[in-house]
């Protein structure tokens, strides 16, 4: 029994789980912003992919992955803005608008990759953010191996969760954002600008998803590949739902899904097909939505464009 436990729960796999969870954490935090304000965002996947591409591009041209990160943030925010304009301003169906963003991102990134670098499939290598060691912590046995030496973006993701939690539940801005997602009419009556709040939330959502994508291209790896997000935007969406639209819940779900990602190869060694491990995040999310493990209830006004009277 102990063998099996250490087979899965050892420092190497847990460190890998944390790495796999990082893009999910960034993106699911983005999802929380958008959906808490009442706007469904299934375009997270496309926003991530755009961020991954632009992060690579800016890193390539400036030579600095940190500036690349900024590029990813801005490009994600622009994708968020497009989603906002379509679905808030022009009341497009939010699911359709998100789908359009996902398809656009696939076309746009491959088109640009081929046009700029004249290559198909993978970009040339670009400068990326290297790992750092945290003094003292790195020397603690086991824990040091797991969190002592990681990519700066891993730490940024963990800090982000705390920041988003405080923002949402401890500040006036957070309260406004949540009220807009639950009772936009009531929020409007007390003088909250529903449109502006939603705009900000959706743009923020795109920016964070952009960072999640950039983690893949200029932190975890140092190049962009076609479709490199590979559905992670949707897993982040699932993590957000599984975590019941709360930052710490989404963090837990991201870690769980990251863990599933990290152990799939070991599972294969035990004779369990990895495809079944890969399915688990999606199955768990469906089970959670159905209410079998504490019902996941979305914000009340989600999906409904706001009409000012």
């Amino acid at each position: 029994m102990w063998e099996y436990i250490t087979f899965f729960f050892n420092a190497t796999i847990l460190a890998a789980a944390l790495r796999m969870a990082t893009p999910l954490i960034f993106t699911s935090m983005g999802g929380i912003f958008s959906e808490r304000s009442g706007v469904i965002n299934i375009g997270l996947e496309g926003m991530m992919l755009t961020g991954a591409f632009m992060g690579m591009m800016v890193s390539h041209y400036t030579g600095s992955p940190w500036v690349g990160l900024l590029g990813a943030l801005v490009s994600g925010a622009i994708m968020g803005l497009i989603h906002a304009v379509a679905s808030i301003q022009y009341k497009a169906n939010q699911v359709v608008s998100g789908t359009a963003i996902n398809i656009f991102a696939v076309g746009f990134t491959v088109f640009m990759l081929r046009t700029i670098f004249n290559v198909a499939g993978t970009s040339p290598p670009v400068p990326s953010i290297g790992n750092v060691s945290i003094p003292i912590i790195v020397d603690i046995p086991v824990i040091g191996q797991i969190i002592g030496r990681q990519n700066p973006m891993v730490y940024m993701a963990l800090i982000l969760v705390v920041v988003v939690h405080i923002f949402l539940f401890r500040t006036d801005w957070g309260l406004r954002l949540r009220s807009v997602g639950e009772h936009p009419k009531a929020a409007d009556t007390v003088g909250i600008n529903v449109f502006l709040t939603r705009y900000m939330a959706v743009i923020m959502s795109g920016a964070l998803a952009g960072l999640g994508g950039a983690y893949l291209s200029i932190a975890h790896l140092s190049r962009f590949g076609d479709g490199m997000t590979a559905g992670r935007g949707f897993i982040a969406l699932a993590a957000m739902i599984f975590g019941k639209w709360t930052p710490f819940g989404a963090l837990g779900a991201s870690l769980l899904f990251g863990f599933a990602d990290a152990v799939q190869m070991s599972m294969q060694e035990l004779g369990i097909p990895r495809h079944f491990v890969q399915m688990t995040p999606y199955i768990l999310t469906m089970v959670a939505l159905a209410g079998f493990i504490g019902r996941a209830t979305p914000p009340k006004a989600i999906g409904k464009p706001y009409e000012k009277e």
């Binding site: 469904i40 299934i42 497009i82 304009v85 379509a86 679905s87 301003q89 022009y90 009341k91 497009a92 169906n93 699911v95 359709v96 608008s97 789908t99 359009a100 963003i101 996902n102 398809i103 656009f104 696939v106 076309g107 746009f108 491959v110 088109f111 081929r114 046009t115 559905g231 949707f234 969406l237 699932a238 739902i241 097909p273 495809h275 079944f276 890969q278 399915m279 999606y282 199955i283 999310t285 469906m286 939505l289 159905a290 209410g291 979305p298």
Partner: protein, 350 residues
């Protein structure tokens, strides 16, 4: 009566205006991308158009590319009519394709008249059952179908990944099954193009969907639920029954896209063979205003874009992915039709 008819016809022309303007706007924005590459947009679009409609052969290719999109477009439109958003067409077509492939491979010695329908029906049943799950979850527990259909897409991808690399992995190294029996093949209609009898199935599906939705009691109920579930329930129509039924039929329609690709085009199940046919179905349904005839024309347009893209890629410096961008833009403009309408209105005033 006459006035009613007139009103209807003006309604139709107004209905057509948004899709047409949306396509033109998308091509206009697409032209910016062509300029980025340093090509002449008019030249690139000319190549695109000639290659997709310029000869009998290119028309056949366009129709072949349109075939699966007709099925996924109908699937999404059908669910829409019941007020349901089926983003799961992609997953449904994968399980349908796999089921058809398995029947196509494993049964030997059957006459075609039995084997082919068996493979098609197996696909439809698989796709229908796959879609029934989010349908039931919506009807019984009130869970929104959007997230569940997305989740089931990924479950379908991994399930078919497992089947095609595991139990049904073919003799060759690539992640694909063995060839299906000749008795399960949808015949080619216009060699050397890959246009096959699937297009006939697609046309039949268009007619059947029209009849079911507008000429039967079932269709009336489905539309009533889509129009106003509360009123439908009050009028004695079971909302939950119709939700499940609409999802099952939608899934069966979507699965036919996969069935056609396997039995008519590839001849075997290939891992992740679909170039987002299910997601494009959303665009096709939207552009076709969720009407079977509209779906046909929208699918042909998208089929043409895909066909022309290959030639444009070859003959100009414009990468074929331009048409993916254009398709995304079309969806955006149709979805944000308030924007499109405003642009039309401004044009009229000017």
């Amino acid at each position: 009566m006459l006035r009613l008819k007139l009103q209807q016809s003006s309604l139709i022309s107004r209905d057509l205006l948004v899709p047409i303007v949306s396509v033109l706007l998308a091509l206009l924005v697409g032209a910016i991308f062509i300029l980025i590459v340093g090509e002449n947009p008019l030249h690139a679009y000319k190549v695109l158009f000639l290659e997709s409609f310029g000869s009998i052969r290119s028309i056949a290719t366009t129709l072949q590319r349109a075939t699966p999109l007709i099925f996924t477009g109908l699937a999404v439109a059908f669910a829409f009519r019941c007020g349901l958003f089926n983003i799961g067409a992609e997953g449904q077509l994968y399980v349908g394709a796999m089921a058809a492939a398995i029947v196509g491979i494993t049964f030997t010695g059957l006459p075609k008249i039995i084997h082919l329908p068996m493979a098609i029906i197996a696909g439809m049943v698989a796709g229908g059952l796959w879609a029934a799950v989010p349908g039931l979850l919506k009807a019984k527990l009130g869970v929104h179908e959007v997230i569940n259909t997305i989740m089931m897409n990924f479950i379908a991808f991994y399930l078919t990944d497992f089947l095609v690399t595991g139990p049904f992995h073919g003799g060759r190294w690539a992640p694909e099954t063995d060839r299906i029996m000749p008795t399960a093949v949808l015949e080619r209609l216009f060699v050397p193009t890959r246009l096959n009898t699937g297009i006939i199935l697609a046309v039949v599906a268009i007619i059947l969907v029209y009849i079911i939705l507008w000429k039967t009691r079932t269709g009336y109920e489905i539309r009533a639920v889509g129009f106003n579930p509360t009123a439908a329930e009050y009028g004695g129509i079971s909302v939950s029954k119709n939700i499940v039924l609409a999802m099952v039929l939608s899934g069966a329609l979507a699965s036919l896209a996969g069935v056609e690709q396997i039995l008519g085009v590839h001849g075997r199940f290939i891992q992740r063979f679909s170039p987002d046919l299910g997601f494009m179905g959303i665009a096709v349904a939207l552009l076709g205003k969720n009407h079977p005839v509209g779906v046909f024309f929208a699918a042909v347009l998208f089929g043409a874009l895909r066909t022309g893209a290959a030639a444009m890629d070859r003959l100009t410096d414009v990468p074929r992915e331009l048409v993916v961008i254009i398709q995304a833009l079309i969806i955006m403009f149709v979805a944000a039709d308030e924007l499109t309408r405003r642009l039309i209105a401004r044009r009229r005033k000017a």
